[in-house]
């Protein structure tokens, strides 16, 4: 997925649509967009938009620490939790460098963004957040398909990924603001 800081306006439509589609309990969030005011070196102001959700690493810290393989990656590259195997040790919650996981109040198993795998993807639709984003700041697609929209976007816009130095190889690409710098 690509999250474009230039198009994002921090409106939280994605946040609420995710909650609505995936029936998330009120006390937890799979997805939030944090808005932070920044001052750039030349004195001008800006807003940075941080999408707080699972970044679906390729080199997943959460999957490598899970003792029962409840936390796993499916064939599409989406990181999922198999509740049948989960014992609730919370190793994955602690190991995630992005604080993407939370304990689901009802199932008591760790839960997180699944790119709407069980809801919309299985029906051939895009994730809820992408579907509602008013300014098309989110782009979702198949990285392995050279003709997909996401690959087009990646070839046209400069992107970076969070905490790349940890070697997690996230699949969430951020397009930085045209103005200001990157705090990676």
């Amino acid at each position: 997925m690509v999250h474009d800081n230039n198009l994002c306006i921090g409106c939280q439509a994605c946040n609420v649509a995710c909650r609505s589609e995936n029936k998330i309990p009120d006390s937890v969030y799979r997805l939030q967009v944090w808005v932070k005011q920044e001052e750039y070196p030349n004195g001008s102001l800006g807003y940075e938009y941080h999408r707080q959700s699972c970044v679906h690493c390729e080199n997943t810290p959460c999957v490598s620490v899970c003792p029962t393989k409840a936390s796993h990656v499916n064939e599409d590259g989406i990181v999922l939790v198999d509740n049948d195997l989960c014992v609730g040790c919370l190793y994955c919650v602690a190991a995630c460098p992005y604080q993407a996981r939370y304990v689901h109040p009802v199932t008591k198993a760790p839960d997180k963004c699944t790119f709407c795998h069980e809801s919309r993807l299985s029906r051939g639709e895009e994730p809820a957040c992408v579907t509602v984003c008013p300014t098309e700041a989110l782009v979702f697609g198949d990285l392995l398909d050279p003709k997909s929209k996401i690959n087009k976007v990646l070839s046209e816009r400069v992107t970076y990924r969070q905490k790349e130095r940890l070697g997690t190889k996230p699949k969430m690409y951020i397009v930085p603001n045209h103005k200001g710098g990157i705090n990676s």
Binding site: S27, V28, Y29, Q52, P61, S64, V65, C66, P67, T68, K69, A70, L85, C86, V87, G88, C89, L90, Y91, V93, A94, A95, C96, P97, Q99, R101, Y102, V103, K108, A109, L166
Partner: protein, 310 residues
Amino acid sequence: MEQYNTVVWHWPIAVYLFLAGLSAGAIISAIVVKWMKGNDVSPWDGIIKAGAILAPVTIGAGLCLLIFDLTRPLMFWKLLIHYNFGSVMTIGVLALFAYMPVSILFLLGVFKKELAVDGPFKFLAPIADLALNYGKALEAITLVLAVGVGAYTGFLLSAMNSYPLLNTPVLPALFLASGVSAGISANLVVGLLFFTHSTKDANVSYLHGLDVKVIFAELFFIFILFVGMMYQGGATAHAGAAALGTGGLSTLLWVGVIGLGLLLPIGLNFALPHGVKHSHAFVIFNALIVLVGVLALRYYMLYAGQTFVG
């Protein structure tokens, strides 16, 4: 918001790490003593008896704590049949799977007389014999497993690259040393309090002396852990500095872990006259402050590691 709290594992895990390290250290020091000339035949020294009881009991208590700390405790058995060999937790489960029975075997061997000969559990006699006849081999295996258990508690935390304070190879070494120290101290306390008559002063002296050396090692490991962080630079150095100087946790480190649990025992060891420092009262007192220090170390590493993420 609670879900973004970087502290995921709380005090039950700290206590478990303490108990696991203690269990491993107790049985290691018990076996080391048992292998020494003069201690290698029945009746067993009180220290050996202490270690034999402490090892399975503390690890059992620790595992119970762990199971109840799970958010889905009724599913705990899935850990025993589903494995991910890339996960330290699976390795730990498997190690404990082997460690539990061998430590119980050791217990049966040491307490054969009290349980199976004089006591009511006659049916345990053949198993106890097994433990005694294959003593050296069993104890060697137990030693290896105990080292594994002691170290794995450190690897468990160090495998997470989300926490710079924990993500260091020094941690398993630190925890192993600390666990041995705790095991020694626990053995001394239990041995001197409950098996007073069978505990030889020479062994007490030996273990106490060993403990002092282990404490030096611990101090060294803590030192290189933080110095290493400083030299890593960037966010890691920042986290390290914060961990050393911020709030109640840093107080716990300097006063509880280093001051009370490490420096004070060493200091007292060199400052006090021979008679005092070998008295039972002092040895017990010394052991208790070491134990407090080890628990404080686990608590500090767990909380500070999860709090100061840079």
